[in-house]
Symmetry: C2
């Protein structure tokens, strides 16, 4: 870690010592530490760090400082409190994580039937197999079993099975109309792992900055910290539906660069998490042009691409916009696009299947990333199977198609109705405003809290939204994440809930929330 | 990353500048950079790093240096060459990774039957379910389905499902006779992830050293480099069956500490990878006492604990020895023990299920590790199910027991026969000596190569064992890993093969090897 810094410190240390001993710099020498590298190494005064505290080598004060500094709000104070209450027997409603099946969403049957046979391929030859599984399920399982060489129990290539990567490339081509190279696709244990892979490679030291929207998904802030980089936030404008302001972003990048910062990458989340906005093609063109002009790697968090709840702004991928813009954008902007099986109507969070597609990346960099993923040997195979089934659903005419289509369409329609119910519920409250959830899985209402509540929070040593969310949790059992965990404009307060409570319970959920809110507002009026 | 180093470099830089400008250190000032921290910050001469090369921000020369420096031999030059040959149509025998099912080992049927129902829980109520699955399989699947709240598609707690963690704790208690706390067990996507979690937390900068056996498993060298630490190797003595020499280890630790190094952790691998030796209780007692005396965190890579091929040295866990030794060892030595579903007779590499048990760790450190794993949300659930089934096999009297026992015992017996066949095959060769594979999955023969071969390798710019393994690959299709990838005593040459080729083919495999070796030796005689 930071070998150059250490070398620099050592060299500078040598220089200090030499100067103290009366050494004179040659005339005209520049005044950087580098010029002193030929000087003798000074004696070490003391070991740099203690190795033990209170009898513990792995004492929490003696761990990797970047790990200690990393914050992860989704499972932060609120979550810990929730765990404590759950242990004590309190019934909780978890809306803190986009975890659909935890709240009763059923998996897509076809996908699980196929998976059921892929993990037990010997059943394919069982005489009774057709009594339990539809014909196209058996066929698909046979095909997948062959693709995995008959052995989902074996490590695959570290980038994932070549057949599945080809299927993903075909899916991307169908979606965008532009070719996709399976050699530039990495399958991972969920998209988070892919995001972290990229950040870890891009970030060299704390001078390397990554542009991240504020509010943001804490995966970014936590990982950037963990890899020793610096998050450079750009505010989304709540008053215009969480839009991007490129004038402000450019200003912020210039200011950072004037400070000597290296701005390496830019994250955007479309549809937005936690903010739920969808980007238009115009927005995406601006983004691509910005990345080209400012020379940053574009990290497109597109994991919510199937979760769209309005018709005006359908999902458009950054890859498609890149292609539409043509040269010089299409052949130069370095784009990493992330997708997952955890979201959409699938909601297969537990299976951990994700991918990243790399466009315009240097082949040597792809080799380095390949090496990096090789250290963990292989992504899990069942997640890869889930990915294959996501990008290749049953087709019209196949036995499972009607059932699949029904589950898919009803699932999406239900999410759309819930997005409306949730946003409407929040907007009906005094002191709450909530941008419509155009996509993704979250509502991010703004809480206009009374001064007394803010003062009480301050007295309790907590951000005012954390203070609110803790009371909400204790009184109603609803687990949310305070806006302060995502970052938000100074002086504003928010919370994030998912829109995932089951449809038959969503009105009760909204009612529970409303009752609490009224009481809270009255208490601190 | 390395915030302190940067601060130190800056402070030292200021001091250099101040001294150049004629500033005098106060009388009696100590000569460390720290004393200069109140001096004004010098102007930045140039931005620390370029952001772009050949039009690429993510240019391979501009990535994280620790990533660039990390080597991962198991999928290194040999593997890349193998991939190239495979693409060109050459038939290969992969003995480079311990990946049993890739070479035809069948999964344990009971485990896969249960998994098949757990991923499709709706089948549990299907009228035909009993025609395909034994009764105890259905029961076990019901139990696991309940344990996962009916939803293996949901994220679990970031440490893994609480029920599975309890089962692992019970397994450890049965194995060792000492209690195990499920709150100190983390389930992970394979043991590699758990190892990396610990290394990432322990290592703060390049002055933090981790003791690792030489030869070692490259996961350690690659991860320590990736996290910016320093590997401090200790040689295993080949002439005494790859034994540990504590005099030498102590000498090496003292020497490193005299250089100012912080020695934070000590890895050992039992049974050994790539070396195949098993540690005795005496060895383990020495290890625990050493860790206590020298204050290092003990990292026990015990993933091959079921793979034992002799009766003299059964597997004994470090946790048991810790307990047997009693106070002060049992209540102070910080021990992390790793295990997996990928090895043993299961060989479920593709499912990615592992765990780490932390003993005597500070509660605050366990919290920090919990936070770290939370950033990835959840280990995959099917790997957790595989772990549950590994620690809880069918019991006598249950319908699947006899079948399970037969598969288990025959699998282990076959591995034992193959360990013998492989070692005997190598020892029958002129210029090859091979320590018996007492455990794990590998043979690590020493190649006594003729001077002409060494010279030819040198001329080709390759370590002599890489040179040998490349020719072996090209002529026979056998994929191995050269000893240089694991580290080895200077001037010795080895290679690693697994003992996993199917039993009916192992004599052919040995013959293929022998023929090549004779030709190679004749060529360079």
């Amino acid at each position: 870690m930071c070998v150059r810094c250490i070398a620099k410190a050592r060299t500078a240390g040598r220089a200090v010592q030499a100067l103290l001993q009366g050494w004179q710099a040659p005339a005209g020498a520049c005044r950087t530490a580098r010029c002193f590298s030929s000087l003798p190494e000074p004696a070490v005064d003391a070991p740099a760090r203690p190795n033990e505290l209170e009898g513990k080598v792995a004492h929490p004060s003696l761990l990797n400082e970047d790990l200690l500094k990393a914050q992860y709000a989704v499972r932060g104070e609120l979550y810990m409190k929730a765990m404590e209450l759950q242990k004590a027997g309190k019934e909780l409603i978890f809306t803190n994580v986009g975890n659909p099946q935890q709240l009763g969403q059923l998996p897509i049957k076809f996908n699980r039937e196929v998976t059921s046979l892929v993990v037990a391929p010997f059943l394919l030859d069982h005489p009774a197999v057709a009594s339990l599984y539809p014909k196209d399920v058996i066929e698909r399982a046979r095909k997948l079993n062959k693709m995995f060489g008959g052995a989902v129990g074996a490590y695959t290539d570290s980038r994932g099975n070549a057949g599945v990567r080809q299927e993903v490339a075909d899916f991307i081509k169908r979606r965008d109309g532009y070719p996709s190279n399976p050699e530039h696709i990495f399958l991972t244990d969920g998209a988070s792992v892919a995001v972290r892979l990229l950040l870890n490679a891009l970030i060299r030291d704390s001078n390397d900055h990554i542009l991240v929207p504020i509010p943001q998904y804490p995966l970014y802030s936590a990982s950037i910290q963990l890899y020793g980089g610096t998050l450079l936030g750009y505010n989304l404008k709540e008053q215009t539906g969480w839009s991007m302001d490129f004038n402000e972003i450019t200003r912020s990048v210039n200011e950072a660069r004037n400070r000597g910062a290296c701005v390496r990458g830019m994250v955007f989340i479309n549809p937005g998490n936690p903010t739920g906005q969808c980007l238009t093609e115009d927005n995406l063109r601006d983004l691509v042009k910005f990345a080209h002009q400012e020379k940053v790697v574009l990290m497109a968090d597109e994991v919510y691409q199937p979760n769209i709840y309005q018709d005006e702004k359908p999902f458009v991928s950054a890859k498609k916009v890149l292609g539409d813009l043509g040269v010089p954008y299409s052949n130069s902007v370095e784009l990493a696009s992330f997708h997952t099986v955890s979201k959409g109507v699938l909601g297969e969070c537990g299976l951990r299947g994700g991918y990243v597609e790399l466009t315009n990346f240097h082949p040597g960099t792809i080799d380095e990333l390949y090496k990096a993923v090789s250290i963990n040997l292989s992504p899990n195979t069942v997640g890869q199977v889930a990915m294959s089934l996501m990008v290749n659903p049953p087709q019209p005419g196949q036995e499972s198609y009607e059932q699949w289509k029904k589950e898919h369409d009803e699932g999406l329609a239900s999410l759309r109705r819930r997005a409306h119910a949730m946003t409407d519920g929040f907007n009906s409250l005094e002191g709450v405003t909530c941008t419509f959830t155009e996509g993704a899985m979250y509502s991010f209402p703004r809480l206009h809290l009374p001064p007394k509540a803010i003062a009480a929070a301050k007295a309790a040593g907590k951000p005012a939204d954390t203070f609110y969310c803790l009371q909400l949790l204790e009184e109603t059992g609803i687990v949310t994440v305070p806006g302060s965990g995502f970052g938000q404009e100074e002086g504003t307060f928010h919370l994030r809930t998912t829109i995932l409570p089951p449809e038959e319970k969503i009105q009760d959920f909204v009612k529970l929330f409303q009752d609490f809110h009224k009481k809270f507002m009255a208490k601190y009026a």
